[in-house]
Symmetry: C2
Subunit: 267 residues, 2 copies
């Protein structure tokens, strides 16, 4: 049976980054595209529950390309795996995103959430992003996506999404590949207040200045800036396990004083 | 200076759970409500960047209640802290949600993402949810929210959101308070395929059956079912730190063979 990949993104089914990914990955596998009909940047892990998902078969350049879904990247992965693939999927690849997904930005990223959704479903996955907002050349990133796909098939981590970021520099200038942790970098945000012609107030989320954060050298932000391709394993257990014990002690001290029963392990 | 809380939710500014929260918390603090104009369930950590945020002052029962935002819960926290509060916020409280936010569900939750957004901004926060889909009595949960607010002010964790879930049983039957980790419970999802009057295909995300997962006794799902209030500290660093070393070894072995430079710490 042929190897089957499910491809998605958050820039929408007509995005060039997705085409580049499809062209390269279909050399090794049967690729089913299930992607949002329109751009879904910054939707995070949103899913569609209050209205139905419209799905239509989409063709591009006369070739069958896949399904356009009026929903989010996480919707595309859910419906792709559960319904449209009609059989097992070996790998979900989300991208190639126009713009890096590193640091705090990862939380807002539809691209990364698509990969996380696959991990929840138990399917190996990766998100891949190119560090540019310009109309860039996706060729090097697509070639690396193919190498990564081979890597994941050889080293499957079914419940982990890999978040890959590629610097937008000539392929020969890329300094290498590094396993990195998610950094703390985020934008200094502000709101630009305006009044509409009917005297209503509205705001644009603005602010593109990076907050000065001391990133350690092993963070994705820092390594990407130094010209490296970064790979970060991403989880969907959001528990701060390191804080559980300290919090138990504090909760017990506080609530016992109030006469509230505090239940700890083994009691 | 008075203590100031920012209240939000994902059920929308007219939701009863938010009113109950406001009534109880305004006994101790000046409460500014900044909440979505309409229901935003399952939007996760989505934010609005491609269009402006419409914001209007909203009054309820003749009293000034706050701001209704045509956006997501995370938008409300961003604009609330950065712009509308006009000064420091001591605590962000998101809820009271109609429906538990435990297990995998936490990833999709607008309620929890609002609290996480506050943690990113460095403001102590909690999300609070009541385990029912019915039109329930929020009184006990609101009373507990007030106790939790006092707890957080005494034990501030500026970069951690606390995710609180309250069982929907009579207050005297609640078995106690427990610090729990996020469980693995999720719904077994399916898609219900239909054809519209114009012969287009569409799908409803269906499936309310819980997947059988072995939850250990310390998970939020399991403790909540046993009648306990659960408190889970939530992070926004999604790195699987436990996998970094193993992944470095595998990446080095794989990519070195391909002639790709692999950069590790200190090299």
């Amino acid at each position: 049976m042929a190897i089957r990949f499910l491809l998605t993104n958050d820039d929408g089914i007509y995005a060039r980054g997705l085409s580049a990914l499809y062209q390269e990955l279909s050399k090794d596998a049967e690729c089913l595209v299930v992607a949002p009909e329109i751009e879904q940047s910054a939707v995070g892990h949103a899913i569609t529950i209050a209205r139905p998902l419209m799905v239509r078969k989409d063709r591009k350049n006369g070739n069958f390309l896949g399904y356009a879904v009026a929903g989010t990247p996480a919707d595309c992965v859910k419906i792709g795996i559960c319904e449209l693939a009609g059989g097992p999927v070996d790998l979900v690849v989300s991208g190639i995103n126009r713009g890096a997904n590193v640091g705090i930005n990862v939380l807002y990223s539809g691209t990364v959430s698509a990969a996380t959704e696959a991990a929840i479903q138990g399917v190996p996955s990766m998100a891949i992003s190119l560090d540019t907002r310009e109309e860039a050349d996706f060729t090097a990133a697509a070639r690396f996506a193919r190498k990564m796909a081979a890597f994941i098939l050889e080293n499957p981590l079914p419940h982990v999404a890999l978040n890959v970021n590629v610097p937008a520099i000539p392929e020969e200038e890329i300094r290498g590949v590094v396993v990195a942790k998610q950094g703390r970098e985020r934008l200094m945000e502000s709101f630009d207040k305006r009044i509409d012609p009917r005297e209503n107030t509205y705001y644009w989320l603005a602010g593109e200045t990076e907050l000065p954060v001391h990133e350690d050298d092993e963070s994705d932000c820092s390594a990407l800036k130094r010209g490296m391709i970064t790979i970060t394993p991403i989880c969907y257990d959001l528990t701060r396990h390191d804080l559980l014990d300290g919090l138990k002690t504090r909760v017990r001290a506080h609530f016992s004083g109030l006469g509230t029963t505090v239940v700890l392990k083994g009691e």
